[in-house]
Amino acid sequence: MTAPIDIVDVTKRYGDAMALAGVTLGIEAGEYCVLVGPSGCGKTTLLDILGGFSDPTGGAVRIDGREMVGVPAARRPTTTVFQDYALFPHMSLLDNVAFGLRMRGLGRSRRLARAEEMLELVGLAGAGAKRPTALSGGQRQRVALARALAVEPDVLLLDEPLGALDLNLRRAMQDELKAIQRRVGATFVHVTHDQEEAMAIADRIVVMNAGRIEDQGPPERVYRRPASRFAAAFLGEMNFVPGVVQGGRAMTVFGALGPATQLPEGARVTLCARPEHLRPGAGVSLGVVRVIEAVFQGMHRKVTVLPEAAPDTPLRARLPVGLAADVGDLITLALDAEHLTLLEDT
Protein backbone atom coordinates (compact mmCIF):
# COMPACT_ATOMS: atom_id res chain seq x y z
CA MET A 1 0.00 0.00 0.00
CA THR A 2 2.83 2.34 0.72
CA ALA A 3 6.58 2.32 0.67
CA PRO A 4 9.59 4.52 1.35
CA ILE A 5 11.84 5.67 -1.45
CA ASP A 6 15.60 6.00 -1.32
CA ILE A 7 17.37 7.90 -4.00
CA VAL A 8 21.15 7.75 -3.62
CA ASP A 9 23.48 9.93 -5.64
CA VAL A 10 21.49 9.52 -8.86
CA THR A 11 22.97 11.08 -11.98
CA LYS A 12 21.57 11.27 -15.49
CA ARG A 13 23.59 12.33 -18.47
CA TYR A 14 22.28 12.99 -21.98
CA GLY A 15 25.37 13.23 -24.14
CA ASP A 16 27.28 16.17 -22.66
CA ALA A 17 24.32 17.53 -20.72
CA MET A 18 23.86 16.62 -17.06
CA ALA A 19 20.13 16.36 -16.36
CA LEU A 20 20.74 15.11 -12.83
CA ALA A 21 24.02 15.88 -11.12
CA GLY A 22 23.95 13.66 -8.06
CA VAL A 23 20.59 13.65 -6.33
CA THR A 24 20.15 12.05 -2.94
CA LEU A 25 16.72 12.03 -1.40
CA GLY A 26 14.83 9.93 1.07
CA ILE A 27 11.06 9.93 1.03
CA GLU A 28 9.17 8.26 3.82
CA ALA A 29 6.33 5.85 3.32
CA GLY A 30 3.02 7.65 3.03
CA GLU A 31 4.61 11.00 2.53
CA TYR A 32 3.36 13.54 0.02
CA CYS A 33 6.51 14.76 -1.63
CA VAL A 34 6.52 17.56 -4.18
CA LEU A 35 9.42 18.17 -6.52
CA VAL A 36 9.42 21.77 -7.57
CA GLY A 37 11.72 23.79 -9.80
CA PRO A 38 11.93 25.62 -13.07
CA SER A 39 11.64 23.71 -16.33
CA GLY A 40 14.81 21.83 -17.14
CA CYS A 41 15.76 21.48 -13.48
CA GLY A 42 15.64 17.67 -13.67
CA LYS A 43 12.46 17.06 -11.72
CA THR A 44 10.70 15.26 -14.55
CA THR A 45 13.84 13.27 -15.30
CA LEU A 46 13.89 12.16 -11.69
CA LEU A 47 10.23 11.17 -11.92
CA ASP A 48 10.94 9.18 -15.10
CA ILE A 49 13.70 7.34 -13.31
CA LEU A 50 11.37 6.58 -10.42
CA GLY A 51 8.65 5.42 -12.78
CA GLY A 52 10.92 3.14 -14.76
CA PHE A 53 10.90 5.07 -18.03
CA SER A 54 14.58 5.83 -18.12
CA ASP A 55 17.77 4.63 -16.50
CA PRO A 56 19.96 6.67 -14.20
CA THR A 57 23.51 7.03 -15.48
CA GLY A 58 24.72 6.37 -11.94
CA GLY A 59 23.44 5.94 -8.43
CA ALA A 60 20.76 3.80 -6.85
CA VAL A 61 16.99 3.96 -6.49
CA ARG A 62 15.25 1.79 -3.91
CA ILE A 63 11.57 1.52 -3.24
CA ASP A 64 10.69 -0.38 -0.11
CA GLY A 65 14.33 -1.39 0.03
CA ARG A 66 14.22 -3.06 -3.40
CA GLU A 67 16.71 -1.95 -6.00
CA MET A 68 14.75 -0.46 -8.91
CA VAL A 69 17.42 0.31 -11.49
CA GLY A 70 16.72 -1.77 -14.59
CA VAL A 71 13.23 -2.77 -13.48
CA PRO A 72 10.76 -1.72 -16.19
CA ALA A 73 7.71 0.36 -15.38
CA ALA A 74 5.36 -2.56 -15.68
CA ARG A 75 7.05 -4.39 -12.81
CA ARG A 76 7.46 -1.50 -10.38
CA PRO A 77 5.21 -0.80 -7.42
CA THR A 78 4.63 2.62 -8.93
CA THR A 79 2.02 4.13 -11.21
CA THR A 80 1.97 7.50 -12.85
CA VAL A 81 -0.55 10.25 -13.47
CA PHE A 82 0.75 11.77 -16.68
CA GLN A 83 0.85 15.42 -17.49
CA ASP A 84 -1.48 14.99 -20.49
CA TYR A 85 -3.36 12.23 -18.61
CA ALA A 86 -2.72 9.74 -21.46
CA LEU A 87 -6.21 8.31 -21.17
CA PHE A 88 -7.00 5.62 -23.72
CA PRO A 89 -9.37 7.39 -26.09
CA HIS A 90 -10.85 4.19 -27.47
CA MET A 91 -11.95 2.86 -24.07
CA SER A 92 -14.74 3.87 -21.70
CA LEU A 93 -13.79 5.46 -18.40
CA LEU A 94 -14.51 2.22 -16.62
CA ASP A 95 -12.23 0.28 -18.98
CA ASN A 96 -9.56 2.94 -18.58
CA VAL A 97 -9.63 2.66 -14.81
CA ALA A 98 -9.85 -1.12 -14.89
CA PHE A 99 -6.95 -1.44 -17.33
CA GLY A 100 -4.23 -1.96 -14.74
CA LEU A 101 -6.33 -4.58 -12.96
CA ARG A 102 -6.97 -6.33 -16.26
CA MET A 103 -3.21 -6.46 -16.79
CA ARG A 104 -2.91 -8.07 -13.37
CA GLY A 105 -5.33 -10.77 -14.44
CA LEU A 106 -8.32 -9.70 -12.39
CA GLY A 107 -11.66 -11.06 -13.63
CA ARG A 108 -13.95 -8.75 -15.50
CA SER A 109 -16.69 -8.31 -12.94
CA ARG A 110 -14.27 -7.81 -10.08
CA ARG A 111 -12.16 -5.29 -11.90
CA LEU A 112 -15.16 -3.32 -13.10
CA ALA A 113 -16.56 -3.21 -9.59
CA ARG A 114 -13.23 -1.95 -8.34
CA ALA A 115 -13.05 0.62 -11.15
CA GLU A 116 -16.50 1.85 -10.23
CA GLU A 117 -15.28 2.33 -6.65
CA MET A 118 -12.30 4.27 -7.87
CA LEU A 119 -14.44 6.53 -10.03
CA GLU A 120 -16.57 7.15 -6.97
CA LEU A 121 -13.46 8.04 -5.01
CA VAL A 122 -12.56 10.75 -7.50
CA GLY A 123 -16.13 12.01 -7.71
CA LEU A 124 -17.13 10.53 -11.05
CA ALA A 125 -19.56 7.90 -9.87
CA GLY A 126 -21.85 6.73 -12.64
CA ALA A 127 -19.83 8.25 -15.49
CA GLY A 128 -18.04 4.97 -16.28
CA ALA A 129 -19.64 4.41 -19.67
CA LYS A 130 -18.44 7.73 -21.08
CA ARG A 131 -15.44 8.14 -23.31
CA PRO A 132 -12.51 10.35 -22.31
CA THR A 133 -13.27 12.78 -25.14
CA ALA A 134 -16.61 13.61 -23.48
CA LEU A 135 -14.89 14.94 -20.36
CA SER A 136 -13.57 18.31 -19.24
CA GLY A 137 -9.92 18.73 -18.33
CA GLY A 138 -10.55 18.42 -14.61
CA GLN A 139 -12.61 15.28 -15.07
CA ARG A 140 -9.91 13.70 -17.21
CA GLN A 141 -7.43 14.46 -14.49
CA ARG A 142 -9.61 12.62 -12.01
CA VAL A 143 -9.93 9.62 -14.29
CA ALA A 144 -6.16 9.50 -14.74
CA LEU A 145 -5.82 9.57 -10.96
CA ALA A 146 -8.41 6.84 -10.49
CA ARG A 147 -6.71 4.71 -13.13
CA ALA A 148 -3.33 5.05 -11.48
CA LEU A 149 -4.70 4.37 -8.00
CA ALA A 150 -6.88 1.42 -8.99
CA VAL A 151 -3.95 -0.98 -8.87
CA GLU A 152 -3.11 0.18 -5.32
CA PRO A 153 0.46 1.25 -6.03
CA ASP A 154 2.94 1.74 -3.19
CA VAL A 155 4.06 4.91 -4.85
CA LEU A 156 2.04 7.25 -7.03
CA LEU A 157 3.96 9.54 -9.33
CA LEU A 158 2.25 12.67 -10.58
CA ASP A 159 3.81 14.60 -13.46
CA GLU A 160 2.43 18.15 -13.40
CA PRO A 161 -1.02 16.68 -12.86
CA LEU A 162 -2.70 20.05 -12.50
CA GLY A 163 -0.68 21.87 -15.13
CA ALA A 164 -3.42 21.93 -17.74
CA LEU A 165 -6.16 23.17 -15.42
CA ASP A 166 -7.23 26.75 -14.88
CA LEU A 167 -6.26 28.43 -11.65
CA ASN A 168 -9.46 27.99 -9.66
CA LEU A 169 -9.81 24.36 -10.57
CA ARG A 170 -6.16 23.79 -9.80
CA ARG A 171 -6.52 25.14 -6.27
CA ALA A 172 -9.61 23.01 -5.69
CA MET A 173 -7.91 19.90 -7.00
CA GLN A 174 -4.89 20.48 -4.78
CA ASP A 175 -7.00 20.02 -1.70
CA GLU A 176 -8.72 17.02 -3.18
CA LEU A 177 -5.42 15.38 -4.11
CA LYS A 178 -4.19 15.82 -0.61
CA ALA A 179 -7.38 14.35 0.82
CA ILE A 180 -7.21 11.37 -1.49
CA GLN A 181 -3.60 10.79 -0.58
CA ARG A 182 -4.54 10.67 3.07
CA ARG A 183 -7.27 8.17 2.35
CA VAL A 184 -5.22 5.77 0.24
CA GLY A 185 -2.02 6.25 2.23
CA ALA A 186 0.37 5.64 -0.67
CA THR A 187 3.56 7.61 -1.09
CA PHE A 188 2.92 10.42 -3.57
CA VAL A 189 5.68 12.05 -5.57
CA HIS A 190 4.36 15.07 -7.39
CA VAL A 191 6.20 17.25 -9.87
CA THR A 192 5.21 20.85 -10.45
CA HIS A 193 6.69 24.19 -11.30
CA ASP A 194 4.01 26.02 -9.30
CA GLN A 195 5.47 26.84 -5.89
CA GLU A 196 2.13 27.75 -4.37
CA GLU A 197 0.75 24.36 -5.36
CA ALA A 198 3.84 22.75 -3.93
CA MET A 199 3.56 24.47 -0.60
CA ALA A 200 -0.15 23.89 -0.33
CA ILE A 201 0.04 20.19 -0.86
CA ALA A 202 3.41 18.84 0.23
CA ASP A 203 4.50 17.10 3.36
CA ARG A 204 7.98 17.43 1.98
CA ILE A 205 8.98 19.93 -0.63
CA VAL A 206 12.06 19.40 -2.75
CA VAL A 207 13.39 22.41 -4.61
CA MET A 208 15.47 21.47 -7.60
CA ASN A 209 17.66 23.49 -9.90
CA ALA A 210 20.10 22.50 -12.65
CA GLY A 211 19.98 18.83 -11.77
CA ARG A 212 20.55 19.31 -8.06
CA ILE A 213 18.45 19.55 -4.93
CA GLU A 214 18.69 23.08 -3.57
CA ASP A 215 16.65 22.48 -0.47
CA GLN A 216 14.21 19.99 0.90
CA GLY A 217 12.03 19.71 3.96
CA PRO A 218 8.60 20.67 5.27
CA PRO A 219 7.14 23.53 3.22
CA GLU A 220 7.09 25.99 6.05
CA ARG A 221 10.71 25.44 6.93
CA VAL A 222 11.80 25.66 3.32
CA TYR A 223 9.80 28.81 2.82
CA ARG A 224 10.85 30.53 5.93
CA ARG A 225 14.41 29.27 6.29
CA PRO A 226 15.50 28.39 2.77
CA ALA A 227 18.83 26.63 2.52
CA SER A 228 19.91 28.39 -0.64
CA ARG A 229 19.45 31.65 -2.38
CA PHE A 230 17.79 29.81 -5.30
CA ALA A 231 15.33 28.05 -3.01
CA ALA A 232 14.64 31.32 -1.30
CA ALA A 233 13.85 33.12 -4.52
CA PHE A 234 11.96 30.28 -6.17
CA LEU A 235 9.35 29.80 -3.51
CA GLY A 236 8.28 33.44 -3.44
CA GLU A 237 9.50 37.00 -3.62
CA MET A 238 12.51 37.66 -1.47
CA ASN A 239 14.64 40.67 -0.62
CA PHE A 240 18.35 40.04 -0.59
CA VAL A 241 20.62 42.29 1.40
CA PRO A 242 24.36 41.69 1.09
CA GLY A 243 26.54 41.75 4.14
CA VAL A 244 29.88 40.81 5.71
CA VAL A 245 30.40 38.89 8.94
CA GLN A 246 31.74 41.08 11.68
CA GLY A 247 31.88 39.90 15.25
CA GLY A 248 29.52 37.00 14.70
CA ARG A 249 26.84 39.13 13.07
CA ALA A 250 26.15 40.14 9.50
CA MET A 251 26.97 43.77 8.92
CA THR A 252 24.90 45.48 6.21
CA VAL A 253 24.10 49.00 5.09
CA PHE A 254 21.26 48.85 7.60
CA GLY A 255 23.65 47.90 10.40
CA ALA A 256 24.02 44.49 12.01
CA LEU A 257 21.16 42.24 10.95
CA GLY A 258 19.90 38.74 11.39
CA PRO A 259 20.83 35.88 13.65
CA ALA A 260 24.23 35.21 15.13
CA THR A 261 26.52 33.20 12.90
CA GLN A 262 29.50 30.89 13.29
CA LEU A 263 30.94 31.96 9.98
CA PRO A 264 34.47 33.33 10.01
CA GLU A 265 35.13 37.01 10.23
CA GLY A 266 34.90 38.76 6.83
CA ALA A 267 32.77 36.05 5.12
CA ARG A 268 30.36 37.45 2.54
CA VAL A 269 26.79 36.68 3.32
CA THR A 270 23.30 37.53 2.11
CA LEU A 271 20.35 38.23 4.32
CA CYS A 272 16.96 37.22 3.01
CA ALA A 273 13.69 38.79 3.98
CA ARG A 274 10.24 38.09 2.54
CA PRO A 275 8.32 41.21 1.45
CA GLU A 276 5.61 40.53 4.00
CA HIS A 277 8.17 40.94 6.74
CA LEU A 278 8.89 44.54 5.82
CA ARG A 279 6.33 46.80 7.45
CA PRO A 280 5.84 50.20 8.95
CA GLY A 281 6.29 49.78 12.67
CA ALA A 282 8.36 47.79 15.13
CA GLY A 283 11.53 45.91 14.23
CA VAL A 284 14.92 46.75 12.86
CA SER A 285 14.42 50.10 11.21
CA LEU A 286 15.38 50.49 7.58
CA GLY A 287 15.01 54.24 7.85
CA VAL A 288 13.17 56.37 5.37
CA VAL A 289 12.43 54.78 2.02
CA ARG A 290 11.04 56.26 -1.19
CA VAL A 291 8.25 54.42 -3.00
CA ILE A 292 9.16 54.00 -6.66
CA GLU A 293 6.49 51.56 -7.67
CA ALA A 294 3.15 50.62 -6.15
CA VAL A 295 0.70 48.01 -7.34
CA PHE A 296 -2.66 47.48 -5.73
CA GLN A 297 -3.29 43.76 -5.34
CA GLY A 298 -6.53 43.60 -3.42
CA MET A 299 -5.42 42.10 -0.12
CA HIS A 300 -2.35 44.23 0.02
CA ARG A 301 -0.35 46.78 -1.86
CA LYS A 302 2.90 45.62 -3.41
CA VAL A 303 5.49 48.35 -3.39
CA THR A 304 9.09 48.73 -4.42
CA VAL A 305 11.09 51.16 -2.38
CA LEU A 306 14.56 52.64 -2.33
CA PRO A 307 16.00 53.10 1.17
CA GLU A 308 17.70 56.47 1.64
CA ALA A 309 20.50 54.55 3.37
CA ALA A 310 21.06 52.25 0.43
CA PRO A 311 19.77 53.78 -2.79
CA ASP A 312 21.30 50.86 -4.81
CA THR A 313 19.27 48.20 -3.03
CA PRO A 314 15.62 48.31 -4.08
CA LEU A 315 13.42 46.41 -1.65
CA ARG A 316 9.98 44.98 -2.09
CA ALA A 317 7.32 45.04 0.56
CA ARG A 318 3.66 44.19 1.01
CA LEU A 319 1.84 46.94 2.81
CA PRO A 320 -1.63 46.98 4.26
CA VAL A 321 -4.08 48.51 1.81
CA GLY A 322 -5.09 51.11 4.35
CA LEU A 323 -1.62 52.61 4.36
CA ALA A 324 -1.26 55.37 1.79
CA ALA A 325 1.86 54.68 -0.29
CA ASP A 326 1.94 56.25 -3.70
CA VAL A 327 4.89 56.57 -6.00
CA GLY A 328 7.18 59.29 -4.67
CA ASP A 329 5.97 59.05 -1.08
CA LEU A 330 8.51 58.81 1.68
CA ILE A 331 7.68 56.29 4.38
CA THR A 332 9.55 54.55 7.15
CA LEU A 333 9.88 50.78 7.10
CA ALA A 334 11.12 48.24 9.62
CA LEU A 335 12.17 44.66 9.35
CA ASP A 336 10.87 41.79 11.45
CA ALA A 337 14.31 40.50 12.41
CA GLU A 338 13.00 37.17 13.56
CA HIS A 339 12.20 36.16 9.99
CA LEU A 340 15.58 36.93 8.53
CA THR A 341 17.60 34.11 7.00
CA LEU A 342 21.34 34.34 6.69
CA LEU A 343 23.00 32.59 3.74
CA GLU A 344 26.65 32.33 3.05
CA ASP A 345 27.60 33.52 -0.43
CA THR A 346 29.13 30.89 -2.59
Binding site: G51, G52, F53, P72, A73, A74, R75, T78, T79, T80, F82, D84, A86, L87, F88, P89, H90, F99, G100, M103, R104, R147, A148, V151
Partner: protein, 256 residues
Protein backbone atom coordinates in the same frame (compact mmCIF):
# COMPACT_ATOMS: atom_id res chain seq x y z
CA UNK B 1 -15.80 36.57 -63.00
CA UNK B 2 -13.05 36.21 -65.54
CA UNK B 3 -11.08 34.24 -62.99
CA UNK B 4 -14.04 31.98 -62.33
CA UNK B 5 -14.47 31.29 -66.03
CA UNK B 6 -10.82 30.45 -66.49
CA UNK B 7 -10.88 28.11 -63.49
CA UNK B 8 -14.10 26.42 -64.52
CA UNK B 9 -12.90 26.05 -68.09
CA UNK B 10 -9.60 24.54 -67.02
CA UNK B 11 -11.29 22.15 -64.64
CA UNK B 12 -13.74 21.03 -67.30
CA UNK B 13 -10.89 20.47 -69.74
CA UNK B 14 -8.78 18.42 -67.34
CA UNK B 15 -11.65 16.41 -65.95
CA UNK B 16 -12.59 15.66 -69.54
CA UNK B 17 -9.05 14.45 -70.20
CA UNK B 18 -9.01 12.41 -67.01
CA UNK B 19 -12.35 10.74 -67.62
CA UNK B 20 -12.06 10.26 -71.36
CA UNK B 21 -10.51 6.78 -71.41
CA UNK B 22 -12.61 5.46 -68.55
CA UNK B 23 -15.78 6.72 -70.13
CA UNK B 24 -14.93 5.25 -73.52
CA UNK B 25 -13.95 1.99 -71.89
CA UNK B 26 -17.22 1.74 -70.00
CA UNK B 27 -19.33 2.79 -72.98
CA UNK B 28 -17.85 0.23 -75.33
CA UNK B 29 -18.11 -2.50 -72.73
CA UNK B 30 -21.83 -2.30 -73.54
CA UNK B 31 -21.14 -2.48 -77.27
CA UNK B 32 -23.60 -4.73 -79.02
CA UNK B 33 -21.08 -6.06 -81.51
CA UNK B 34 -17.83 -7.85 -81.84
CA UNK B 35 -15.53 -4.81 -81.66
CA UNK B 36 -15.12 -2.17 -79.02
CA UNK B 37 -14.68 0.56 -81.59
CA UNK B 38 -16.98 3.20 -83.07
CA UNK B 39 -19.67 3.31 -84.15
CA UNK B 40 -21.57 2.37 -81.00
CA UNK B 41 -24.02 -0.19 -82.26
CA UNK B 42 -26.37 -0.44 -79.33
CA UNK B 43 -26.54 -1.40 -75.72
CA UNK B 44 -25.86 -4.93 -74.59
CA UNK B 45 -24.87 -6.63 -71.37
CA UNK B 46 -23.55 -9.57 -73.33
CA UNK B 47 -19.87 -8.93 -72.64
CA UNK B 48 -20.33 -8.37 -68.95
CA UNK B 49 -22.21 -11.62 -68.72
CA UNK B 50 -19.52 -13.37 -70.71
CA UNK B 51 -16.86 -12.08 -68.35
CA UNK B 52 -18.76 -13.35 -65.35
CA UNK B 53 -19.07 -16.73 -67.05
CA UNK B 54 -15.39 -16.94 -68.03
CA UNK B 55 -13.85 -19.42 -65.65
CA UNK B 56 -10.28 -18.25 -66.36
CA UNK B 57 -11.13 -14.64 -65.59
CA UNK B 58 -13.08 -15.58 -62.51
CA UNK B 59 -10.26 -17.79 -61.28
CA UNK B 60 -7.84 -14.92 -61.90
CA UNK B 61 -10.16 -12.63 -59.97
CA UNK B 62 -10.14 -15.02 -57.02
CA UNK B 63 -6.35 -15.26 -57.22
CA UNK B 64 -6.05 -11.49 -57.30
CA UNK B 65 -8.21 -11.14 -54.22
CA UNK B 66 -6.26 -13.84 -52.44
CA UNK B 67 -2.90 -12.31 -53.24
CA UNK B 68 -4.14 -8.81 -52.45
CA UNK B 69 -5.58 -9.70 -49.06
CA UNK B 70 -2.78 -12.00 -47.96
CA UNK B 71 0.03 -9.70 -49.08
CA UNK B 72 -1.66 -6.63 -47.65
CA UNK B 73 -2.21 -8.32 -44.30
CA UNK B 74 1.48 -9.16 -44.09
CA UNK B 75 2.54 -5.74 -45.38
CA UNK B 76 0.36 -3.94 -42.84
CA UNK B 77 1.71 -6.12 -40.04
CA UNK B 78 5.33 -5.54 -41.03
CA UNK B 79 4.75 -1.85 -41.63
CA UNK B 80 2.91 -1.38 -38.36
CA UNK B 81 5.57 -3.13 -36.27
CA UNK B 82 8.35 -1.16 -37.93
CA UNK B 83 6.47 2.12 -37.61
CA UNK B 84 6.05 1.47 -33.91
CA UNK B 85 9.73 0.72 -33.56
CA UNK B 86 10.70 3.96 -35.29
CA UNK B 87 8.12 6.04 -33.41
CA UNK B 88 9.42 4.96 -30.00
CA UNK B 89 12.42 7.24 -30.36
CA UNK B 90 14.73 4.65 -28.88
CA UNK B 91 15.57 2.80 -32.10
CA UNK B 92 19.28 3.02 -32.84
CA UNK B 93 19.91 4.19 -36.40
CA UNK B 94 16.26 5.14 -36.87
CA UNK B 95 17.07 7.44 -39.79
CA UNK B 96 18.92 4.75 -41.70
CA UNK B 97 16.22 2.19 -40.95
CA UNK B 98 13.52 4.56 -42.13
CA UNK B 99 15.45 5.15 -45.36
CA UNK B 100 16.01 1.42 -45.88
CA UNK B 101 12.36 0.62 -45.35
CA UNK B 102 11.11 3.26 -47.76
CA UNK B 103 13.76 2.63 -50.43
CA UNK B 104 11.60 0.22 -52.49
CA UNK B 105 9.19 3.09 -53.14
CA UNK B 106 11.55 4.66 -55.64
CA UNK B 107 12.55 1.48 -57.46
CA UNK B 108 10.56 0.50 -60.49
CA UNK B 109 8.37 -2.56 -60.15
CA UNK B 110 10.01 -4.07 -63.22
CA UNK B 111 13.39 -4.04 -61.49
CA UNK B 112 11.98 -5.41 -58.24
CA UNK B 113 10.20 -8.16 -60.16
CA UNK B 114 13.25 -9.07 -62.21
CA UNK B 115 15.46 -9.18 -59.14
CA UNK B 116 13.04 -11.50 -57.40
CA UNK B 117 12.69 -13.64 -60.52
CA UNK B 118 16.45 -14.06 -60.79
CA UNK B 119 16.74 -14.78 -57.06
CA UNK B 120 13.93 -17.34 -57.06
CA UNK B 121 15.59 -19.02 -60.03
CA UNK B 122 18.91 -19.25 -58.24
CA UNK B 123 17.20 -20.56 -55.11
CA UNK B 124 15.32 -23.15 -57.15
CA UNK B 125 12.07 -21.72 -55.87
CA UNK B 126 9.22 -22.38 -58.28
CA UNK B 127 6.85 -19.59 -59.19
CA UNK B 128 3.32 -19.44 -57.84
CA UNK B 129 0.83 -17.05 -56.35
CA UNK B 130 2.95 -17.10 -53.18
CA UNK B 131 5.92 -15.65 -55.02
CA UNK B 132 3.65 -12.94 -56.43
CA UNK B 133 2.50 -12.20 -52.88
CA UNK B 134 6.14 -11.96 -51.76
CA UNK B 135 6.72 -9.33 -54.45
CA UNK B 136 3.62 -7.40 -53.48
CA UNK B 137 4.65 -7.40 -49.85
CA UNK B 138 7.96 -5.86 -50.91
CA UNK B 139 6.21 -2.98 -52.67
CA UNK B 140 3.44 -2.48 -50.10
CA UNK B 141 5.41 -2.67 -46.86
CA UNK B 142 7.04 0.78 -47.37
CA UNK B 143 3.62 2.24 -48.03
CA UNK B 144 2.06 0.70 -44.92
CA UNK B 145 5.10 1.70 -42.90
CA UNK B 146 4.82 5.32 -44.01
CA UNK B 147 1.08 5.51 -43.30
CA UNK B 148 1.42 3.89 -39.87
CA UNK B 149 4.45 5.99 -38.95
CA UNK B 150 2.51 9.15 -39.79
CA UNK B 151 -0.38 7.99 -37.61
CA UNK B 152 1.68 7.17 -34.51
CA UNK B 153 2.16 10.47 -32.74
CA UNK B 154 2.71 11.79 -29.21
CA UNK B 155 -0.80 10.80 -28.13
CA UNK B 156 -0.16 7.16 -29.01
CA UNK B 157 3.25 7.19 -27.38
CA UNK B 158 1.79 8.67 -24.18
CA UNK B 159 -1.00 6.13 -24.05
CA UNK B 160 1.49 3.31 -24.58
CA UNK B 161 3.61 4.64 -21.75
CA UNK B 162 0.60 4.74 -19.48
CA UNK B 163 -0.37 1.19 -20.40
CA UNK B 164 3.16 -0.04 -19.75
CA UNK B 165 3.13 1.80 -16.44
CA UNK B 166 -0.05 -0.05 -15.50
CA UNK B 167 1.66 -3.36 -16.08
CA UNK B 168 0.84 -4.18 -19.72
CA UNK B 169 3.24 -6.43 -21.60
CA UNK B 170 4.52 -5.23 -24.96
CA UNK B 171 2.18 -7.49 -26.89
CA UNK B 172 -0.81 -6.20 -24.99
CA UNK B 173 0.33 -2.59 -25.39
CA UNK B 174 0.31 -3.11 -29.15
CA UNK B 175 -2.88 -5.11 -29.29
CA UNK B 176 -4.96 -3.17 -26.77
CA UNK B 177 -3.61 0.36 -27.17
CA UNK B 178 -1.63 1.21 -30.31
CA UNK B 179 -3.49 -0.83 -32.88
CA UNK B 180 -7.00 0.25 -31.84
CA UNK B 181 -5.86 3.86 -31.54
CA UNK B 182 -4.57 3.98 -35.13
CA UNK B 183 -7.18 1.62 -36.53
CA UNK B 184 -8.30 4.05 -39.26
CA UNK B 185 -4.72 4.36 -40.48
CA UNK B 186 -4.26 0.60 -40.36
CA UNK B 187 -7.41 0.10 -42.39
CA UNK B 188 -6.42 2.80 -44.86
CA UNK B 189 -2.99 1.21 -45.28
CA UNK B 190 -4.58 -2.19 -45.73
CA UNK B 191 -7.11 -1.07 -48.31
CA UNK B 192 -4.59 1.02 -50.23
CA UNK B 193 -2.27 -1.94 -50.26
CA UNK B 194 -5.10 -4.14 -51.50
CA UNK B 195 -5.80 -1.81 -54.40
CA UNK B 196 -2.11 -1.59 -55.29
CA UNK B 197 -1.69 -5.34 -55.25
CA UNK B 198 -4.99 -5.82 -57.05
CA UNK B 199 -3.85 -3.61 -59.93
CA UNK B 200 -0.19 -4.58 -60.08
CA UNK B 201 0.84 -6.16 -63.36
CA UNK B 202 4.54 -6.55 -64.01
CA UNK B 203 5.57 -8.28 -60.77
CA UNK B 204 2.58 -10.59 -61.00
CA UNK B 205 3.47 -11.27 -64.63
CA UNK B 206 7.08 -12.11 -63.91
CA UNK B 207 6.54 -14.10 -60.73
CA UNK B 208 3.49 -16.22 -61.54
CA UNK B 209 3.16 -19.46 -63.45
CA UNK B 210 -0.14 -21.32 -63.89
CA UNK B 211 -2.30 -19.43 -61.47
CA UNK B 212 -2.26 -15.81 -62.52
CA UNK B 213 -3.80 -12.65 -61.15
CA UNK B 214 -6.42 -10.62 -62.94
CA UNK B 215 -4.12 -8.02 -64.54
CA UNK B 216 -2.01 -10.83 -66.01
CA UNK B 217 -5.11 -12.61 -67.28
CA UNK B 218 -6.30 -9.34 -68.81
CA UNK B 219 -2.90 -8.97 -70.41
CA UNK B 220 -3.20 -12.33 -72.12
CA UNK B 221 -6.78 -11.47 -73.08
CA UNK B 222 -5.38 -8.32 -74.67
CA UNK B 223 -2.84 -10.30 -76.64
CA UNK B 224 -5.32 -12.80 -77.94
CA UNK B 225 -7.33 -10.30 -79.94
CA UNK B 226 -9.71 -7.44 -80.06
CA UNK B 227 -12.57 -8.15 -77.69
CA UNK B 228 -15.21 -6.11 -75.80
CA UNK B 229 -14.70 -8.55 -72.93
CA UNK B 230 -11.57 -6.59 -72.18
CA UNK B 231 -13.70 -3.48 -71.78
CA UNK B 232 -16.22 -5.31 -69.64
CA UNK B 233 -13.60 -6.77 -67.32
CA UNK B 234 -11.96 -3.33 -67.14
CA UNK B 235 -15.22 -1.75 -66.03
CA UNK B 236 -15.73 -4.47 -63.44
CA UNK B 237 -12.21 -4.01 -62.06
CA UNK B 238 -12.91 -0.32 -61.85
CA UNK B 239 -16.01 -0.96 -59.80
CA UNK B 240 -14.17 -3.22 -57.35
CA UNK B 241 -11.35 -0.70 -56.94
CA UNK B 242 -13.77 2.17 -56.56
CA UNK B 243 -15.53 0.33 -53.74
CA UNK B 244 -12.19 -0.23 -51.99
CA UNK B 245 -11.28 3.44 -52.38
CA UNK B 246 -14.65 4.46 -51.08
CA UNK B 247 -13.88 2.28 -48.08
CA UNK B 248 -10.60 4.10 -47.49
CA UNK B 249 -12.29 7.46 -47.93
CA UNK B 250 -15.03 6.59 -45.45
CA UNK B 251 -12.67 5.30 -42.78
CA UNK B 252 -10.52 8.42 -43.17
CA UNK B 253 -13.60 10.62 -42.97
CA UNK B 254 -14.74 8.89 -39.82
CA UNK B 255 -11.47 9.74 -38.19
CA UNK B 256 -11.96 13.44 -38.82
Amino acid sequence: MMRFLICAGYMALLYGFIFLPVGVLALYSFQDGRFPIPPFQGFSLRWHIEVLGDSDLMAALAHSLMVAFASSAVAVTLGFLAARAVAGGRLPGARAIRAALTAPLSVSYLVIGLGLLASFNLMGQGLSLSTVAVGHIVINTPLCFAICAAAIGPAQMAAERAARDLGASELRVMWLITAPMILPALLAAFLLSVTFSWDEFIIAFLLSRFDVTLPVEIWSLLRSGLNPKTNAVGSLVFMVSAVAVLGVELTMMRRR
